[in-house]
Amino acid sequence: MTLQFLIANIVVSAGAFFLLVGSIGLIRLPDFYSRAHATGKSDTLGVLLVTLGLVIHEGLTLNSAKIALIMAFIALTSPTATHALTRAAVRFGLKPWFRRDGAGEKGD
C-alpha cells in the first residue's frame, strides 16, 4: 500500500518535471519549430506520466481503466496535433530561426 503510493508520487512528480521542462522550453526557445519541438515531446511524456501515476495510485478499478484509455488517446493525438501544427507552418512558408551573424553556417 505504502509502496504503491510512493511509486505513484514518484511517477507523478516525474511527469510534473517534464511538464516544467516543456514550459521552460516554450518560453526560452526562439521560434515556432523549436518551441513545438520542446512542448510536443515533453508535454506528451509529462501528461502520460501524470496519468500513469494516477493509474498506479488508483489501483485496478474501473476508474483506472478509464484513465488508461485517456492515456492511450493522449499518446495517439498529442503528437499528431504537433505534427499537424508544424506541417501547417511549413506549408505556410514559415522560415526556421537562424543565428544572425553566421546565418547557420558556423557549426556552433
Binding site: 488517446f73 495517439l76 493525438t77 499528431t80 505534427h83 499537424a84 506549408r91
Partner: protein, 145 residues
C-alpha cells in the same frame, strides 16, 4: 483553406479517433442523468467528431460522411423532439415537459427518467447539427480545397 487530404498521419489518426469520440458522446448523452454530462456536452462532442473529419480529410471529402445540407434539418429535428416531448406531455393532461404524463409504460419515476432521456437526445441532436452547420457556414463561399 489548406488541403489536408494528402497527409497520411493526420488523416489516419482523425479517422481512427473520430468513432471513439462519437461513442463517448453517445455515452455522455445516454448516461447524463447519473453522471456529469447530458445533451449539450454530448452533442458538442458529436459535432467535434464530425468537424475533426472535416478538418483532416478536407471539406469536400467529408461531405460524403455528413453532407452540408444535413446540419440545419438535424438541428430542427432535435428541437422538434424536444418540443414534441413537452407537447405530448401537455396533451396527456400535464404541463409542458411534465414527464409523468407521458404515455409510456412503467411507474411515474421511470416515465420521468425516459422523458428526460428523450429531452437529452433532442438537445444532443440539435447541438450537433447546429454546430456543424455553423462550421459549414463559416466556410461558405471560401475556396476550400
Amino acid at each position: 483553406m489548406m488541403r489536408g487530404d494528402d497527409d497520411a498521419i493526420i488523416s489516419l489518426v482523425a479517422r481512427t479517433v473520430s468513432p471513439f469520440i462519437m461513442i463517448f458522446a453517445l455515452y455522455v448523452i445516454f448516461h447524463g442523468h447519473y453522471s456529469p454530462g447530458g445533451g449539450f456536452q454530448g452533442g458538442t462532442m458529436l459535432a467535434a467528431a464530425l468537424i475533426l473529419v472535416r478538418l483532416a480529410a478536407g471539406n469536400d471529402l467529408a461531405q460524403l460522411q455528413f453532407p452540408r445540407s444535413w446540419g440545419t434539418p438535424l438541428g430542427s429535428a432535435g428541437v422538434l423532439i424536444y418540443w414534441g416531448t413537452g407537447f405530448v406531455a401537455m396533451m396527456g393532461g400535464g404541463r409542458f415537459l411534465d414527464y409523468a404524463f407521458l404515455p409510456l409504460a412503467g411507474a411515474a419515476p421511470q416515465r420521468r427518467s425516459l422523458g428526460i432521456l428523450f429531452i437529452e437526445i433532442g438537445v444532443g441532436l440539435a447541438v450537433c447539427g447546429i454546430l456543424t452547420a455553423i462550421y459549414d457556414d463559416l466556410l461558405e463561399g471560401r475556396p476550400h480545397d
